[in-house]
């Protein structure tokens, strides 16, 4: 079984909601990224999205744009991020890790080589915001029947009649984007967010996670009966910056969020 699916099955067993974070690889450097991943694992973060910095992150708001830009300036690359993955997996980090990246990075690396490398390096899933349903065939084919790396599907408040076909190929969890547009807009969810999440949840066989614009567990109280977990990206990056990327600060935030999320 894939590591994400395994972790989510265990949470279901415990009737717990998942807490998922996003960090940019190589921000401010790989040593810090490694320490923050380790601290989060210990603090109980269920899944970590590791952002691969790209020069043109069209699905991201200002916070993650700036994070990507800075990471690239500091020398972050896909190859180095693979090395980090290999290193932490060797050292026993077992938390599921998903690459959040843009499709050009995959193509540039080469489809087959990329998929093989993900599998070897312990990358459990892929989130690619500029690869909608219609363009996924070649990558899904390359991922083949392998269980080690799965493709995470995104749905949006305006996906409507597209939802069933997307869910049909979804694995792991469904990433429900809470608002139109890009990452990191303050908790200003789409006006029909509840009916949208309810509809996706009703149709989905796998857990449903909500992301975009979440800062605290309290933000998701209105949808606590619907969703199976929350994803925090831009806010987490901002917090890490304020705290000078101290692993302890990351751990503290994650521990608190996770506890509050399950007490809602």
């Amino acid at each position: 079984m894939n590591r994400i699916e395994q972790a989510l099955a265990a949470l279901k067993e415990k009737k717990e909601k998942a807490f998922i974070t996003y960090i940019t690889a190589g921000l401010p450097d790989y040593a810090k990224t490694k320490a923050i991943i380790q601290a989060q694992e210990q603090a109980g973060t269920d899944i970590i999205e590791l952002g691969i910095p790209f020069s043109d992150p069209v699905a991201d708001g200002p916070v993650i744009q700036a994070a990507s830009y800075e990471a690239i300036q500091n020398g972050a690359t896909l190859e180095k991020t693979f090395s980090l993955m290999e290193e932490i997996r060797r050292e026993g980090v077992a938390v599921p890790i998903v690459f959040m990246m843009y499709y050009n990075s995959v193509l540039h690396y080469g489809l087959e080589a990329f998929v093989e490398k993900c599998s070897c390096a312990g990358v459990d899933g892929l989130i690619i915001p500029d690869l909608p349903f219609e363009e996924q065939d070649e990558l899904l084919q390359a991922l083949g029947k392998t269980d080690s790396t799965i493709f995470i599907q995104l749905v949006s408040p305006v996906s409507k009649d597209r939802v069933p076909k997307i869910l049909e190929r979804a694995r792991g969890f469904v990433y429900c984007v809470s608002s139109m547009g890009v990452t990191g807009q303050s908790a200003d969810f789409h006006r029909e967010v509840i009916s949208y999440l309810t509809s996706v949840k009703e149709q989905s066989k796998i857990p449903v996670m909500m992301g975009f614009g979440i800062r605290t567990a309290e933000d998701v109280r209105p949808m606590k009966e619907i969703i199976d977990g929350a994803i925090v990206g831009s806010h987490f990056i901002e917090l890490l910056r304020e705290q000078d990327f101290r692993p302890e600060a990351a751990a503290e935030y994650c521990r608190t969020f996770k506890q509050e999320l399950n007490r809602l």
Binding site: F54, S55, D56, P57, V58, A59, G61, P62, Q65, A66, Y69, I72, T77, L78, E79, Y102, Y103, N104, S105, L107, H108, Y109, P129, D130, L131, P132, F133, E134, E135, D137, L154, V155, S156, P157, V158, S159, K160, R162, I166, V177, M180, G181, V182, Q185
Partner: protein, 395 residues
């Protein structure tokens, strides 16, 4: 995979899930509109009465004599607002109106597409926001003033390289947030399907006219058809009607900046590799880590790291060939046209002129070449005078 979104292996719709229904809606509305005689009649009416079409196919006698073959200039520089960009804007804004949108957004590099969009928005009473890189705002001040006079707000984009590529990113982000009431007017033959098709449709008036005009004068098709290529809108419009005429050689001219070998250029076809940017798969300038590489050209309108997907396809199938000329070659040709014909061309168009000079060496006075003079050089006078004074230019 949506096959109709592709030109061979190029094109597609590499956008966020939240834009997919928007694109489908747009595609349906576009296909419906171009089959509606009333819509097309309205479009052509505006091209006639407002834009000032048709534009002349001018036989440049002195230039022809100097270069050694018959050169016809398709005078898109004589259009209202000074370039071919307005052809496409009128089409897209009429479509936006038809779809019930009240706002338009656009990206702009040199500012020509921004000015055209601001013009169309004023004409059709729509709210208009133009995204422009901070760097481009500085080097194209005149066009910023024009856009503001026309009632548009110009947003300075300060991310990445602060140029056209980043302005396009920002326009896409805004569109993803506001697609319900906002129409994104893309100015080049780029972006997710159906944009490349739409831009070609609304720019193909260039070659429809030119083909007939050349036939009337010469009684046959031209031997060579040539245009400059940034994203590729004037060139795809110039090629459109000739693609099915195998005896006509199609040549796209990219910007070689300081020279291909220096790495400071904008020749996606010459040195790019297939990649994904701005919703499309096409040739793209990238660094060794797969990040998009900055393009470099004296011409803001050609300063783009990618190229429209149909051009990539025309290149790979061999139907069109793509070459590049340097800043210096383009500026020499620009001055030559000023002095020989009394026409100040846009620096973009001067790239095509520069290659015409080279190509003409293989041709005779019996043969003929049609060249798209895509815009006038008024917007470039500062850049040109700085360049001639040896001060270099801002890039």
């Amino acid at each position: 995979m949506n096959k109709k979104a592709y030109y061979g292996e190029f094109g597609g719709q590499y956008v966020a899930e939240s834009l997919m229904n928007t694109l489908e809606e747009l595609d349906a509305a576009f296909e419906d509109a171009i089959r509606d005689p009333k819509f097309m009649e309205q479009y052509h009416d505006y091209l006639r009465q407002y834009v000032g079409r048709e534009t002349p196919l001018y036989y440049a006698k002195r230039l022809s004599e100097a270069y050694g073959t018959k050169i016809y200039l398709k005078r898109e520089d004589l259009n209202h607002t000074g370039a071919h960009k307005i052809n496409n804007v009128i089409g897209q804004i009429l479509l936006a109106k038809r779809m019930g949108k009240t706002k338009v957004i656009a990206e702009t590099g040199a500012g020509q597409h921004g000015v055209a969009t601001a013009t169309g928005a004023a004409l059709f009473d729509m709210e208009c926001t133009v995204y422009m890189g901070k760097e481009d705002i500085e080097r194209q001040k005149l066009n910023v003033l024009r856009m503001e006079m026309l009632g548009a707000s110009v947003v300075s984009v300060e991310s990445g390289s602060n140029t056209l590529k980043d302005a396009t990113n920002e326009a896409i982000r805004t569109w993803a947030k506001t697609a319900e009431d906002t129409f994104y007017v893309i100015g080049s033959a780029v972006g997710p399907y159906p944009y490349p098709k739409m831009v070609k449709e609304f720019q193909s008036v260039i070659s429809r006219e030119a083909k007939r005009q050349h036939m009337e004068i010469e009684g046959r098709n031209p031997d060579v058809v040539m245009a400059c290529v940034g994203g590729g809108s004037n060139s795809i419009g110039m090629f459109a009607e000739f693609i099915g005429e195998p005896e006509v050689a199609l040549i796209g001219v990219e910007a070689a900046g300081l020279g291909i070998e220096t790495g400071k250029h904008a020749s996606a076809m010459a040195l790019g590799a297939p990649g994904v940017l701005h919703g499309m798969r096409s040739y793209l300038l990238q660094d060794e880590n797969g990040n998009v590489q900055l393009a470099h050209s004296i011409s803001a309108g050609l300063d783009y790291p990618g190229v429209g997907p149909e051009h990539a396809y025309l290149r790979d199938t061999g139907r069109a060939s793509y070459v590049s000329v340097t800043d210096a070659e383009a500026m020499d040709a620009l001055v030559e046209l000023c002095r020989l014909e009394g026409i100040i061309p846009a620096i973009e168009s001067a790239h095509a002129l520069a290659y015409a000079k080279k190509k003409a060496k293989e041709m005779t006075m019996e043969q003929s070449m049609v060249l798209c003079l895509s815009g006038r050089g008024d917007k470039d006078v500062n850049t040109i005078s700085d360049y001639l004074a040896g001060k270099g230019y801002l890039n």
